[in-house]
Symmetry: C2
Subunit: 187 residues, 2 copies
DNA sequence: GTATATTCGGAACCGGAATTCCGATTCCTA
DNA sequence: TAGGAATCGGAATTCCGGTTCCGAATATAC
């Protein structure tokens, strides 16, 4: 991530923290529909300060989303611990989606076409992807997921579910339907 | 739709047509990332003219999307004609998605949270929905779709597929997986 | 406690894009 | 084919939010 260089004056470190908190909160609730000034205000700072810590809006958003990916990664690690292959897969899938649900910015980042300058994020994303790959493979090997199920399908499924997280759509219902399409019928 | 009042001066009607064509083209290709001026230019007109025909960007976009819904509706009508219940259902589903694929603006309209002032559109949307309901019901009654399949599920499925139309995601693959979750296993 | 480097704050600045305005132009009717 | 209404064109205006700047305030070193 944006290496929080050692040696930052105490107040600076504290403020950086505030900015991140405020930004996380707002981006999560309103996606990209948030002004730099509002973030600064909510952090109890001036916009200038905010720009001292992050080059521009993009960088700030990227940092926030990178952070969410870190959370996703540890969540994934926890799921992988589970002994039962199916439990691990389902836990990963559901945990990921439930974490994404309340974070509009994250969902937009995943669903949107934004291919540009994701810098940091990519790394985190990759770490997460590695775990997904292992968990999926384990479930397939155990004969619980259709043999032709690929890690990419995990992406298809999750994006699909996330697309139904706005408004009144019931993404859990959608997930259920999707699972019936990929799980191997028992017996 | 925005009732093209009778009695529009010939040139006016012609220009309105140009605007709609240009806007359709551009919105379809670039979603909302299009300027009023660009639309005017491509239509061979000045922005002023454009505003004479549509109150603002919103109205213009709404008109364009409403138009797409009209197309979707006639497409749906055609699908409903098919004798085989499953063929009708599949044709509707696939036809809808294939029409949506090349139209970024339409997809955004469906996927986005934009709840505000859809005015016109809603009507068209409703007409389309009515057909979907009948086609779905017919497939369910024929025992080809799981008994608990509801028209709302059609929305879940299509939104899911549309979410995988950007970048390298393979929405057809996703659709296949989803179909296996809702179709009744033959025999 | 003073000096010096950092950091803060927020008014001012800027660029981009939507929308307005009104004189010039074009259509249509009598 | 003249008159007047309807329409066009596009420069000018407005709005909005990101970004910059630099004097003031604050922290840390000595």
């Amino acid at each position: 991530m944006s290496a929080p260089e050692r040696s930052l004056r105490a107040d600076a470190r504290r403020n950086r923290e505030s900015v991140i908190d405020a930004a996380s909160e707002l981006f999560a609730r309103r996606g990209d529909n948030v002004q730099m000034e509002e973030i600064a205000t909510r952090a109890g700072l001036g916009v200038g300060t905010l720009y001292r810590h992050f080059a521009d809006k993009r960088a700030l958003r990227a940092a926030i989303i990178g952070r969410r990916f870190e959370a996703m990664t540890s969540l994934a690690r926890a799921a992988e611990e589970l002994a039962d292959p199916w439990a691990a897969f389902e836990s990963l899938l559901l945990g990921y989606l439930e974490s994404a649900e309340p974070d509009v910015a994250f969902r937009l980042a995943i669903l949107g076409p934004e291919e540009a300058a994701w810098g940091d994020i990519v790394a985190e994303k990759t770490a997460f992807a590695a775990i997904v790959e292992r968990v999926v493979q384990r479930a397939v090997d155990a004969g619980l997921l259709r043999a032709d199920f690929r890690p990419d399908d995990f992406v298809l499924i999750t994006r699909g579910a996330m697309a139904n997280m706005s408004g009144s759509a019931d993404w859990r219902r959608h997930l259920t339907l999707q699972l019936e399409g990929i799980r191997v019928a028992e017996l």
